[in-house]
């Protein structure tokens, strides 16, 4: 029996997992269209490689990775590209992003593809295949997997495979482990190879006995050496990478530190599964398992093509009419989708249909009485009550002193708060304000440098001009000295004075004219588009200012944009 470690705090919210685990994973119906965002991963947005009107095949790259940290995006089925434009995407900001819309032709016709034997292929090729197949972390972080499968800098001892799935309602990894355990483990074996890791520890919360049994069976059947399936206690947020690493290995990875520096790498079980499909069969990441649950007739897990509109997906689970919003992710950390029209992305592990009955609006927040229930449950061992206090009065420097950026936004603090304070909203607000200010100060720094350079340049030009003048004068003096007629020179003297005065007058007049003519003109001749942009920017600034002043108000949470 392996000794497990503990992380500080944690909570036990009702799990609500049974609803969606009664039936096996179902294939979701072919949607009427696919809205595929080109930015479904951490890093640079993929660059479109197709044109509107072009026919694409299933598995064809429609967005190629751009730069080192990026990932490919594919057509999830065969069909015709109907649009490449900005659309609302599955992100809580509600901001539009570049998407490719495909109208499926129903043939589901594959592009030619083939895999390799991972034991034969060089590691660089395997990593390249992961990148080209668009494999990213499916636990929610969507970090490109090829970038995580290096081990040259740090020696990796342990590969942690995360099947904990600690958030309530979500069961996509549970079902995947029950049904496709052997492919998950083979994928883990590939990743272990890539990392030269000594062992693979598979952490699964002990409220998933079927998944644990299936995975253990698969380890035995396929005779995986160096692999161990470990049941970890059910305790939210035990499925956070850092918490699971802590529980399995005892190692604490601080914020801003890569786990590889401590000899551990962590992948989600679904990522391992996709890595296996990508390398052995050449199948890119085209679909994922999505739990559809909450206010539905029959909660279930679906295998869903990426880009499937959320409202078409939830209809298949029988979304009830009083549903008022769709939550992507779990009830603790999930985000409200801006609309049901957005497409399912690589990060969409769960859609909870929410109704006022299922998730009643939170009770009004009361003052914090510093009871420290929040500190007792904080897995990052922060002092949430202090962070709240400083975020509320917008003392952002202090929030950073109290390690605001170590907050993983798990929401355990808000869950236990007897005053119903939406604590995480305060932390997100403080973080975004700090980011905003850093950007502003960087911009100011650039502006300052430019200004200083300009002063330097003006000074230099002045000096150069003075030098030139001095030389000219010298030359003139030399010429004068060379002139032989002193009489003419005296006669000319008064004359010269006059002409000099005239020249000065003329120059002053010219300068005045110039000054009159050089009013700033760059805001007079704006196009309608530019004017609209300016208005929009000013409106946004006003909104931010208003938000900031609202946040200072007594017990009102800051409004998230």
């Amino acid at each position: 029996m392996r000794t497990l470690f503990k992380f500080h705090g944690g909570v036990h919210p009702p799990t609500h997992k049974a609803e969606s685990t009664r039936t096996p994973i179902a294939q979701a119906a072919m949607p009427s269209k696919l809205i595929i965002p080109l930015h479904q991963h951490v890093g640079n947005r993929a660059v479109p490689t197709v044109q509107v009107g072009e026919r694409v095949l299933k598995g064809q790259i429609i967005g190629r990775p751009e730069g080192r940290l990026s990932s490919a995006v594919h057509a999830s089925t065969s069909g015709t590209v109907s649009a490449i434009d900005m659309q609302t995407v599955a992100h809580h900001s509600g901001l539009p992003d570049l998407c490719i819309t495909i109208i499926p032709d129903g043939k589901d016709e594959w592009i030619e593809h083939s895999g390799v034997d991972y034991k034969q292929a060089p590691h660089t090729e395997l990593r390249h295949r992961l990148r080209e197949a668009g494999v990213v972390g499916l636990g929610g972080a969507v970090f490109p997997s090829d970038m995580k499968s290096y081990s040259n800098k740090h020696k990796i001892k342990t590969l942690v495979l995360n099947g904990a799935e600690c958030e309530p309602y979500i069961t996509c990894d549970d079902l995947l482990m029950r049904e496709r355990a052997s492919d998950i483990l083979r994928g883990a074996e590939v990743l272990r190879e890539l990392l030269y890791a000594e062992e693979v520890l598979i952490g699964i919360e002990d409220n998933k006995p079927e998944a644990i049994a299936a995975m253990k069976q698969a380890v035995q059947d396929d005779q995986h050496a160096h692999m161990e399936v470990i049941a970890v206690p059910t305790l939210y947020p035990g499925g956070g990478a850092k918490q699971l690493i802590r529980v399995l290995t005892g190692i604490e990875v601080a914020a801003g530190v890569r786990s590889t520096e401590k000899g551990v790498q962590c992948f989600n079980v679904a990522t391992a599964y996709c890595a296996w499909r990508a390398i052995t069969y050449g199948e890119p990441l085209l679909s994922r398992i999505v739990t559809v649950t909450g206010n539905v007739e029959h909660a279930q897990n679906f295998e869903v093509l990426l880009g499937t509109p959320v409202h078409e997906l939830v209809a298949q689970a029988g979304s009830k009419p009083d549903t008022d919003r769709h939550i992507m992710g779990g009830p603790m950390m999930g985000v409200d989708l801006p609309s049901g029209k957005v497409g399912v992305t690589k990060a969409t592990n769960c859609i909870i249909e929410s109704s006022p009955k299922l998730f009643p609006p939170p009770e009004p927040a009361l003052p914090c009485i510093r009871c420290t229930r929040c500190a007792e449950v904080c897995p990052a061992e922060l002092q949430p009550q202090e962070l709240y206090w400083f975020a509320k009065v917008q003392n952002f420097g202090k929030t950073q002193e109290y390690d605001l950026f170590d907050c993983i936004e798990c929401g355990a603090c808000a869950y236990v708060c007897p005053s119903h304070i939406p604590l995480v909203q305060y932390y997100r607000f403080a973080k975004s304000e700090i980011w905003q200010r850093e950007q502003e100060s960087q911009a100011a720094e650039v502006a300052r440098e430019r200004h200083e350079y300009r002063l330097f340049r003006v000074e230099r030009e002045k000096q150069e001009k003075a030098e030139r003048l001095a030389q000219k004068e010298k030359a003139a003096l030399a010429a004068k000295a060379a002139a032989p007629a002193p009489v003419a020179a005296t006669a000319n003297a008064g004359d010269t004075d006059n002409t000099v005065q005239m020249r000065i007058d003329a120059a002053v007049a010219r300068a005045k004219e110039q000054a009159a003519g050089s009013q700033p003109k760059n805001i007079d001749t704006l196009t309608a588009q530019q004017q609209a942009d300016i208005n929009e920017i000013q409106a946004r600034r006003a909104k931010i200012r208003e938000m900031a002043s609202n946040a200072g108000g007594d017990d009102e949470p800051p409004k998230q944009s």
């Binding site: 604490e252 009361l366 003052p367 002092q383």
Partner: protein, 326 residues
Amino acid sequence: MLRVLIALIPGIAAYVWYFGPAILVSITLASITALLTEAVMLKLRQRPLKPFLSDNSALITAWLLALSIPALAPWWMVVVGTAFGIAIAKHLYGGLGNNPFNPAMIGYAVLIISFPAHMTHWLTPNMLDGHALTFAEQLNYIFNGVLPAGSTLDAVTMATPLDTLKTQLHLGLSVNDIREMPIYGHLAGKGSEMVALGFAIGGIYLLATRVINWVVPLVYLGSLFVIAGLFHQANPAHYVAPLFHWFSGAAMLGAFFIYTDPVGGPTTFKGRLIYAFGAALLTYLIRTFGGFPDGVAFAALLMNICVPLIDTWTQPKVFGKKGGGQ
């Protein structure tokens, strides 16, 4: 916070049993004053009434204040103390959650400094012979300041056991001689020791239901015991035994109901250790060497002042940053 009120009931019951129902009058009076003051202040601060009047925090202040002052205190003293605590110590600092000092202890401090004479007239427990006042007589004194004919204030009240101890020690008596006096029982003062026991029972209920954290009560009582024990060992004739300190004055009330007030208390584990130890040390020093009969309230206020500093000093290291690697 309803549970805190429930937890006070055993102590109050003992109070009524040994000293008559006068305490219920002052508790009622303080409660009404607290709710009225709270409502007026909320109105002035343009805050909603309902959530703040129904959170019981004003009632806790009222009950704690009423229990800290003599039950026979004139009605206006109860009103002044409570109103001052709620209006000045609580609302002028920003209301619930923002008050650096415990409002009940501020109310107590105002009264003991302004009206020291009234604050020494504690009811004599009714098992001591003398003329125990009837409820009607108690009421008549609280509201009209009139005692029954032939009775004097000195006949029906006395100094607290702690106060008596201090006075008698000054007169040169030894602890053992003083403890022979009829006002003392097994642990401390007759009657009042049972009230303290009632508060301890309520405190254990609060610990069991996890309404309060265990660190402060445990460390406070432990430190008080050790400090008193050391002095007692050094000179038993001059320094009374630790148990006497536990069951005298407001030690039990402080340990479970006053120092555990989260608003003015520290939030870190180490901070709570320091806070509770400091409170115990100050309690002992004020009781033994100071000019006031009890030190619990002043210890609370003095430690409240230190809380921001204590909290800043004792910030724990966060996940992954504790040093020492694993």
